[in-house]
Symmetry: C2
Subunit: 210 residues, 2 copies
DNA sequence: CCCTGTGGCAAACAGTTGTTTACTGAATTC
DNA sequence: GAATTCAGTAAACAACTGTTTGCCACAGGG
């Protein structure tokens, strides 16, 4: 009668998913203060409270666990981005809304954000590639949203994609800047981010019109 | 009579510097495929061909070696940036010149660039802070150069610093994008980077004028 | 020329790591 | 209700880690 698991899932399978999630959670916690390539399998199982060998029932190695963490981490970000993109508002409002959304996302999922920022260029190839692929999908999604706006009339697909890339990069930079900042510094960062977006948006409106 | 070391340096001191440099070089090479927090002291000394204990004659631990690598890595970048900033040219030219300089820098010092990109958000606090401090100095330097240009007339110091931050971030993003790219992809990246800089420069010219 | 400072060495230390093995006991299937 | 599946266990493995110790060879100053 566990309400958090579907009734159709057997007790067996549900338990397995539970420890799998426990492994992911423990790893994410440990990764707040070290990087994936130095995180040991025993370290993780010790925190969860299972035998080291149990790890292999869920992941081939730490790299595979890392890829699973990428999906978990960027999944929530994906939801957030889609929500912001869906709102149809004035440019100024959409900027304020975006920065606020990023700030809140970092506040709610700091470990996820830190993990992505850290492993984006980290020492584990498979994880790097998973993050790159997911961020590329973000870029495409943003590009689609931009193309649908009337400001982009007459823009080539490449130019739209270029602008989308700029936005995604800026998002990632801003999010990781928030991470290590105190409350005071966070306000400064948010303010700077808004002005930067405003400047970009200005450049956008004058593109090919100058 | 070693021409690469000052004549005033005794044989003693010169030898010490030589193995110290060998340790740094070996570490940098090993760091192309892993991150600092997983790099072992024995691993480094083994490559150099000295006893593990010899490491302590030069660094307290790997974190200290990492900080030394930061200075080495960002030192060369610093020279490059200063050179570009010194040139007084038309906006369009300075953009082409900047992107070309970044591309060449990555071509000449890939391991250094990779190291900085990887450890900027990596698992070793001291190294993160050293990189952040150095990048902040870059930002100040760029800000000074921007402020001296007539386009910035009437700009507040904060706005100038905001724009400088945007440029520095863009530089780092572009450099790390170059890293894992093939020759073909590099051309695409360079082209995208140029267009992004052009858009930013456009926004800059219309700042507070719109 | 001898004395001293010191960069590097060999060896030993207690811990820790990833992986394999044979196993147990409970949920599932028939 | 018996047979089967399989998540998790305990123990052992060789290989490796960072750090300390006492020692040596030798450059450099007196």
């Amino acid at each position: 009668m566990n309400s958090s698991t579907r009734a159709t899932l057997g007790v067996r399978q549900a338990q397995k998913l539970k420890t799998r999630q426990a492994l992911l959670d423990a790893a994410l916690k440990l990764l707040e203060e070290q990087s994936l390539s130095s995180l040991g399998l025993r370290e993780v199982t010790r925190v969860v409270g299972v035998a080291p060998a149990a790890f292999y029932r869920h992941f081939r190695d730490m790299a595979e666990l890392g890829v699973a963490l990428v999906e978990e981490s960027l999944g929530s970000l994906h939801v957030m981005i889609r929500a912001v993109l869906a709102e149809q508002q004035e440019a100024e409002e959409v900027i304020d809304r975006s920065v606020e959304a990023v700030a809140e996302h970092v506040r709610r999922h700091p470990a996820h954000v830190r993990f992505v920022a850290r492993e984006r260029h980290g020492g584990v190839r498979a994880v790097r590639e998973a993050i790159a692929a997911e961020l590329a999908r973000f870029g495409d999604e943003v590009a689609d949203a931009l193309a649908a706006q009337e400001v982009s009339r007459g823009w080539s697909a490449e130019d739209v994609r270029m602008l989308a890339g700029l936005y995604v990069d800026h998002l990632v930079m801003t999010a990781s800047a928030f991470l290590e900042a105190s409350a005071d510094e966070q306000r400064v960062i948010a303010d700077t981010a808004r002005r930067q977006l405003r400047l970009i948006s200005l450049g956008r409106r004058h593109w090919r019109a100058a």
